[in-house]
């Protein structure tokens, strides 16, 4: 999570209007879902990954790390789609060619969709998400809460890790029962510190005139129609290439 956040804040496309990233991502997703997956889905995967790596300058390693866990689920799950249960001979799993087709196409589609998600997640910082949520009509109180939680999570994780390290340094995790006891103590301690922190944060905000509303300046990102047009053209070409390839192969 920390790595995704870091790249979202530091990639080359960070300052682009979020719509310039979200619309092409949805476009690619749509292409991967409606067009023949055997040719289109791999194309979408390649296009989205190239955009992330060469366009936004996010290291390939970060992209692979993002995709690894869900991709592993997909790959492990897919073979079961290729099996069908034969109930007549008492629950015998049987390989079905039709199932194999379904397994292949759905895995390809899911991977393509995953790359679209990675494209948005690795290039768009949280403040832009918040702006989108606001525009979509989510109440400002909810958006404020999301942003505040986002801000506090980092401090919380830091403290939790430091606490765990300090306990481990005093052999708090050397045996199963000790580990249980230590993590319980740590949880209690973090809870207490969280309450103290909240109180101080309230004092700090009150000193700056807090009256129950966390209002801040919104980020202003000009929408570049040219960039959006180029991106959508790319999406269109990807779909076209996928469709034509599929026709040529059949």
């Amino acid at each position: 999570m920390m790595a995704i956040d870091r790249h979202a804040w530091t990639n080359r496309w960070r300052d682009w209007h979020p719509a310039e990233k979200l619309l092409p991502a949805f476009g690619l997703l749509w292409v991967a879902v409606v067009l023949p997956p055997l040719t289109t889905a791999p194309l979408v995967l390649i296009v989205a990954a190239s955009a992330v790596v060469w366009g936004a300058g996010v290291p390939l390693r970060a992209l692979l790390a993002f995709m690894a866990a869900p991709a592993a689920f997909l790959v492990v799950g897919a073979p079961f789609l290729a099996l069908s249960l034969d109930l007549s001979a008492g629950l015998t799993p049987r390989f079905s060619p039709q199932g194999a087709g379904v397994a292949l196409t759905s895995t390809l589609r899911a991977l393509a969709a995953l790359s679209c998600l990675a494209f948005v997640a690795l290039t768009t910082p949280v403040v832009d998400w918040a702006a989108l949520l606001r525009r979509a009509g989510v109440p400002s109180g909810v958006v404020e809460l999301i942003l505040l939680m986002y801000r506090l999570i980092f401090g919380f994780v830091e403290r939790a890790l430091a606490g765990r390290r300090a306990q481990a340094a005093r052999l708090g995790y050397s045996r199963f029962d000790r580990a249980l006891r230590s993590s319980g103590l740590l949880a209690g301690n973090l809870f207490q510190r969280g309450l103290t922190r909240a109180r101080w944060l309230e004092i700090g905000l009150a000193a700056r005139g807090y009256r129950g509303e966390l209002r801040v300046l919104r980020e202003e990102r000009p929408l570049s129609r040219a960039r959006l047009a180029v991106a959508m053209l790319g999406v269109g070409l990807t779909g076209l290439a996928g469709g034509l390839l599929a026709r040529a192969l059949s």
Binding site: V127, R151, I203, L205, A207, R208, G209, V216, L217
Partner: protein, 300 residues
């Protein structure tokens, strides 16, 4: 004498558990000065500072802002906090927004200013602390020293007449302290009155105009920095050792009625001048002795 910007008279404060934190405390903040509240850690300095912007309300005694007794209703507090800015010791207690720019905009927006004015204020505050390059950064990715300056900028953007800072140099390294004090000095020169708490006698000597000696919940004495820090009896009562530079300057026999040296380099150059030839021969001796500090070889 003119009416002080802020004055506390006979403050008592008890925590809800009945523990006494402040007792019969007097403090005067004069306009355009740098006042250090000097005392040991855990002596209640933070509790005092939290009274200066109305966060805590004294159990007894009163505060006067520009000579007028303060009130604690919503409206008065808002006005008060617009004039007296408070920077907490721990910047994470103050920074809540996702980006630096957004966080600094919070205070001025609460003053009810228009977005364009707020944007100007934010840029001004970031410039004043020389962190304009951090404007678009995520607040959680900043170093401690950077966060400290962002926290100050967030208060500064409200353009308070009085800036109250709780242990501003705590947790900063030497370079960080120098940069922060530079920034605060510029603010001061542009007209801001500063109050800061510290346990560091050297900092108080080098930088404060006035010092209030704080000990166990009360101010033992307040006055010009030099007069307070040279008052051995008062310093002893506050369980504080006098600043080393002041003692060295004293040992060199400086003229206290003229401006005595307060910067480290000034004291050192004075020392060199007094010792003259001895220092030069001493430096040679140090050069000759230098090999002794080389890494020890053949230890195994």
């Amino acid at each position: 004498m003119s009416v002080p910007l802020l004055a506390a008279r006979g403050l008592d404060y008890r925590y809800s558990g009945g523990i006494s934190a402040l007792r019969d405390l007097n403090l005067t903040v004069e306009r355009g000065r740098k006042l250090a509240v000097l005392g040991a850690n855990g002596s209640g300095k933070t509790t005092l500072l939290l009274h200066l912007n109305g966060t805590f309300r004294p159990t007894r005694g009163e505060l006067r802002l520009d000579g007028d007794p303060v009130a604690y209703d919503r409206r008065s507090l808002d006005r008060w906090r617009g004039r007296v800015g408070l920077v907490l010791q721990e910047p994470d207690d103050q920074i809540f927004a996702a980006t630096v720019e957004q966080d600094v905009s919070f205070g001025p927006l609460n003053l009810g200013l228009a977005d364009s004015v707020v944007r100007e204020r934010v840029n001004g505050a970031l410039d004043a602390l020389q962190i304009a390059d951090l404007a678009a950064r995520a607040t959680h990715s900043l170093s401690f020293g950077q966060k400290k300056r962002v926290a100050i900028a967030g208060v500064l953007a409200m353009r308070p007449e009085l800036l109250v800072l709780d242990e501003p140099t705590a947790g900063l390294d030497g370079q960080g302290v120098v940069r922060l004090l530079d920034a605060l000095q510029r603010l001061h020169e542009s007209g801001a009155t500063l109050v800061f708490s510290t346990h560091d006698v050297e900092l108080a000597y080098a930088w404060a105009d006035d010092v209030a000696l704080f000990h166990e919940g009360t101010v033992l004495g307040q006055g010009e920095a030099l007069a307070v820090l040279r008052d051995h009896e008062l310093m002893r009562a506050a369980r504080l050792a006098p600043p080393l530079l002041l003692e060295v300057a004293g040992a060199l026999g400086v003229n206290w009625s003229a401006a005595p040296p307060r910067a480290r380099d000034d004291v050192l150059s004075l020392l060199r001048k007094r010792l003259g030839a001895q220092v030069i021969s001493g430096e040679r001796a140090a050069e000759q002795a230098a090999p002794a500090t080389a890494p020890i070889e053949g230890g195994t």
